[in-house]
Amino acid sequence: MVGLPLLAAGISALVPRRVGSAVTCASSVAAAALALEIARIVVERGALIVLPGWIEVDGLGALIVVLVSLVGVTTSLFSWGYMAGHETGGSPAAYFANFNLFLFSMLAVPVLAEPNVTWIAVEHTTLLSVFLVAFEGTRAALEASWKYVVLTLSGAAVALLGFLLLYAVYQGAGGTGHYTWQALLRAAPRMDPSLALLAFLLVLVGLGTKVGLAPLHTWLPDAHSQAPSPVCALLSGVETSAVLYVILRLLPVLRAVPGSGADRWAEGAGLLSAVVAAFLLLQVSDYKRLFAYSTVEHMGIILFGAALATSATGFAASFQLVTHAFTKSFCFLAAGMVLTATGTTRVDHVRGLTRRSPIAAGALLLGALAIGGAPPFAVFLSELTLIRGGLAAGDYLSVAALVGVLGLAFIGILVPLHRMAFSGSPDEDETRHRSLPRTCVAAVALAAIPVLVLGVYVPPPVHALLARAAALVAR
């Protein structure tokens, strides 16, 4: 399953554009089918061990695998149409090769069992996506990709120190045999609390840079707005989650270390990130950046929920991972349609979108409502679960702050996008008007399904997988 995108990368680097698109789509569909099969096995047996000590998938890992591969399907379909009407930037072969390599690195993160190797996979999610961010070749895109690579790799180096210290702490606790996430958890009760906490904080700061936790998020709106839209959908929808997954893995370990207090740090970091992002949302003038800041906010919320560590908030955090991945990728695909239709990402340059391109306007509004957390969409449900879980845990002050953040973010997202859709009339002399490729519309329609369905109905298999993941997060 993980190898499929790698194979597709090799093929699509060599063949012409049309074939490259088809190969990428086919391999992502196949990878998604395999991912669902893996998830089914994990739900049944609790874990799938492919190569003991190296490749092991449990509930949380399976959840991330499913999210990455499903978003991979919609984004590769969108890429087809995106590349078909593309004249500037790099070559299509390079695009699809990089696209598949990036998918490969993200699928590798959740299935690797040794923490140090997981770190290497995380580093590669940056390295293999740099040229996707820089793909347009504009000044802004190059600047964004430089910022992206330098900041996230420095974060990774800090995290590396954390991982090496963690390994030392693990050995100090008498850990032997294969070094895996499981072994780490077993050795945790005998670990030195202050060194373990130091290692965790180094990882939190280092990988938090890549997840986009405020105040280390500065690169994120740049990279997540300058990349081609389908890449934004991957970066914002699942790459951040795939990296946050590593922090979520560590939290239960630190919880098992007597008196480490790591949960309080994570809770604070999550809440701070959500609050900062909500305020920054209010001053954004670019609709893709708007969605990027919303990612910073959501990552904070998920971390907050996981750190509260009751079974209800653990479930809410896992659910939020799912709703965020589907909804945010949908938002960026919708934004991609708007960009194709209007040729600008500035909020104040787009007016009367409903008349110019009803499909794009409808998708954008749907995305805005869904990601802002309006009922009856999935994000509303997951956030409500989290608020209820937080209240049950007795953390009233933080929950109050969270409710404020959600309200602020709702206003911050909806007001500008509403204006884009309804107010004024479109510029008639606007020449960059292009019709939307059919594959793009199909991709957006496909991406809309989970956004619409999960808010009113969570199918039993999804629920079972979430329960598995939640049990691991809130252990």
């Binding site: 500037t88 040794e114 140090n116 190797v117 290497i120 580093e123 590669h124 390295l127 740099v130 040229f131 820089a134 347009e136 070749g137 504009t138 000044r139 802004a140 895109a141 190059l142 600047e143 964004a144 990709s145 430089w146 910022k147 690579v149 330098v150 790799l153 420095s154 180096a157 800090v158 590396l160 120190l161 090496l164 210290l165 390994y167 030392a168 050995q171 100090g172 070094y179 030195d192 202050s194 060194l195 130091l198 740049d222 707005s225 300058q226 920054l280 001053q283 954004v284 003038s285 670019d286 950046r289 040729g343 600008t344 990402t345 500035r346 340059h349």
Partner: protein
């Protein structure tokens, strides 16, 4: 060889490591910062070999060997192949701070690293950690400082890689018997990093005609009004 001699040699490797880090803060030339990085990587490898002969674990021979091959030999060659030669002779006339100020700040950072390690050291059993922990932490902080004050692409890349050197300098002393697969992958990771950063620098130079990446500041909320919508 006896242990005290090896310890003394390891301390010298640490001193060279830290001096190279100071040099990277102070130098104006891109080429010099590449050379200093190679010196630093060699000191890292030397420390790994010394710890290995002190009996800290056979895997350290592999660590040292991988470091020599990737960072000392392959890396400079790869960088010079991907980035055109005129980038290396460039001098940065104005840094964010002038050099004496920078060095003073760097000194403060290193003192902080030593102070921090003193409080942690009692928790770590082995004698080798008296050198590697403070020096590695100091190297990490100096590299982070280099990264923030340098504006040219090549010195920034060197700062980035020196961050990883710092982490590894601590790592070789505290994390024993790391799996060889992880180490090989980390070596591979360095190569990929260098190639990608090199290619990106080249793209920036070709498209924008500059490698002063610190001066690229169009992407800010307040500055975005001048920016035309991205295509």
């Amino acid at each position: 060889m006896n242990t005290s001699l090896l310890d003394a040699l390891n301390a010298s490797a640490g001193a060279i490591f830290l001096l190279a880090a100071f040099g990277m803060v102070a130098t104006r030339q891109a080429m010099a910062s590449l050379r200093l990085f190679v010196v630093q990587a060699a000191a890292l490898a030397a420390s790994a070999f010394l710890l290995a002969s002190r009996g800290e674990g056979y895997h350290l021979w592999a660590t040292g060997g991988i470091t020599v091959v990737t960072k000392v030999l392959l890396l400079p060659w790869l960088l010079r192949r991907t980035i055109q030669s005129d980038v290396y002779v460039k001098r940065e006339i104005d840094q964010v701070f002038n050099i004496p100020t920078s060095l003073l700040l760097a000194l403060v950072l290193v003192l902080f690293a030593f102070g921090l390690s003193r409080s942690l050291r009692s928790l770590l059993p082995e004698a080798a950690r008296t050198v590697n922990l403070p020096v590695g932490l100091g190297g990490l902080l100096l590299a982070a400082y280099t990264l923030t004050v340098r504006r040219e692409a090549v010195p920034q890349v060197m700062g980035l890689l020196a961050l990883e050197n710092g982490a590894f300098f601590v790592g070789i002393a505290v994390a024993r018997s790391l799996s060889v697969i992880a180490e090989l992958a980390a070596g591979f990771d360095i190569i990929v990093t260098v190639v990608i950063l090199g290619l990106l620098t080249r793209a920036i130079r070709e498209r924008l005609g500059t490698t002063s990446v610190g001066r690229l500041t169009s992407l800010r909320e307040e500055g975005s009004s001048q920016r035309a919508g991205a295509s």
